[in-house]
């Protein structure tokens, strides 16, 4: 079933595929993101409960959503790297981790920024924010473990195992943190955000939100693909395919 994927174990095939995908991702992504951001931050109507400050959800929700999504992607790459020893997958872990970490950080930052005008605090141990904070540590752990090894392939395999263990733990962590939160009655930000994620959200707010989510996906994926191509080139620079490619691009 996965036979069509086999050629992409070779770095060269993935590199070329990435270049093709970039055509479709990069510019359209930036456009979509710009549309979503402008629409949401400037033109969508004000919320009857929260006024203008709710607009941060157009940044917070996509960032939080994709911070989880990219961890899943990283875990899939980790599975390929650990089980089938595919080198390109090892580099994919390295490519995705920092982007995911930044997305998580954006979600934390915007979550905190939201709290200030609404409830007067910069940080609240809200279930959602706490879960994002733990996710941030999980990303940092993968990056730190990868960097700590001298031999890169060993580092990639160790980081891959850690990413897989993280993925198994994430549902447990989420459940326990939300459970902990109901115990201590602190879910103000979660409640505020969940209102906007329920189906009853007004279409004037739903569309910019969906467009922002799509825009975030495209732009973050672009960054990951650029990073992956970078990693591929860095390691394959002496191979004939890379040499001829670079010569061609030069002139």
């Amino acid at each position: 079933m996965w036979r069509w994927l086999h050629p992409y174990a070779k770095p060269e095939a993935t590199y070329r595929l990435n270049k093709k995908i970039l055509h479709w991702l990069a510019i359209p992504g930036m456009v979509i993101l710009a549309v979503g951001m402008v629409w949401g931050l400037a033109f969508a109507p004000a919320d009857y409960q929260q006024g203008e400050s709710y607009r941060i959800i157009f940044v917070h929700v996509p960032a939080a959503f994709w911070s989880m999504g990219f961890y899943m992607g990283m875990a899939i790459a980790a599975l390929s790297a650990v089980v089938w020893q595919i080198r390109t997958a090892e580099w994919a872990i390295l490519a995705i981790a920092p982007v995911g970490a930044v997305l998580t950080f954006i979600s934390l930052f915007t979550g905190a920024v939201w709290g200030k005008p609404m409830w007067g605090t910069w940080w609240e141990w809200d279930a959602r924010l706490t879960a994002q904070l733990i996710l941030f540590f999980l990303y940092l752990g993968v990056m730190a473990l990868y960097a700590a090894f001298e031999d890169e392939r060993t580092g990639a395999k160790a980081a891959g195992i850690l990413a897989l263990i993280g993925v198994v733990n994430i549902p447990i962590i989420h459940y326990s943190v939300y459970w902990w939160n109901t115990l201590h009655q602190q879910s103000t930000i979660t409640q505020a955000i969940t209102r906007f994620e329920k189906p009853s959200i007004a279409p004037e707010m739903l569309w910019p939100l969906l467009i922002s989510i799509l825009g975030f996906l495209f732009v973050a994926s672009t960054l990951v693909i650029l990073r992956l191509n970078n990693e591929i080139l860095k390691r394959e620079v002496r191979r004939p395919w890379a040499q001829s490619l670079l010569l061609k691009e030069k002139g």
């Binding site: 020893q85 001298e150 031999d151 890169e152």
Partner: protein
């Protein structure tokens, strides 16, 4: 209770291969240590893997033992890939690596007790005969960390007298041994080969005065 299928070596003179390594490639970091390396070990053979420092001798031994994955190639024991027949391979293999695997806090006897137990021959009485063979009589109750390097290595090598494994893979077994120790090892190798087992080892020194035939596998330093 699990039994491990012992590889029958009663078939003396048969040309069955004990261990076969084909097309082995190893890449460490940026450097390709070696590629397309082949080794075929038959019962009763002693192989010395030689080469300059850094050529990858230890890595090759570890790949053959199954501790290090090779980037290309296959290793087969008794015809079966070592990844598939792990328990069978391990119950017929004795690997003594660079690090002696001797617990510093335990005495020689306590270390030997552990190895005897996991090699299937639990010691019912203090192994004075064994200690005498490896020249550790009188030192058996001292924690290993207070013994010299050569004495610690003798504790590790004592496993060779507790073992009925068909294949011995030894990384620099002669390190820190004196002349008597070296002769003792040569004798043990002869015993192993005579019963149809095999030995693969690395050594910086040439194997002078060894009473058995030595097959060589030479690794060159790749730049």
């Amino acid at each position: 209770m699990v039994t491990y299928r012992p590889f029958s070596i009663a078939v003396r003179g048969a040309m069955t291969t004990l261990l076969e390594a084909e097309g082995i490639m190893s890449v460490r970091g940026e450097r390709t240590l070696f590629e397309n390396l082949n080794l075929c070990v038959k019962p009763g053979e002693l192989w010395q893997v030689q080469g300059p420092n850094g050529a990858g001798k230890s890595s090759f031994l570890r790949i053959v033992a199954g501790l290090l994955p090779a980037q290309a190639g296959e290793v087969r024991f008794a015809g079966e890939l070592i990844q598939h027949g792990r328990s069978n391979y391990h119950s017929n293999l004795l690997f003594i690596g660079h690090k002696a695997a001797v617990k510093a806090e335990l005495t020689a006897i306590e270390n030997l007790e552990f190895y005897a137990a996991i090699q299937g021959q639990p010691l019912t009485a203090p192994p004075y005969e064994l200690l005498e063979r490896v020249g550790l009589v009188g030192l058996e109750d001292i924690p290993a960390q207070r013994l010299s390097a050569g004495q610690q290595r003798r504790i590790a090598l004592a496993r060779l007298w507790l073992s009925n494994a068909n294949l011995w893979i030894l990384d620099e077994p002669f390190t820190s041994l004196d002349v008597a120790g070296i002769a003792m090892l040569h004798e043990r190798f002869a015993w192993q080969l005579a019963r149809g087992g095999a030995v693969i080892l690395t050594s910086h020194q040439a194997l002078d005065n060894i009473p058995v035939a030595v097959n060589m596998l030479t690794l060159e330093y790749q730049h």
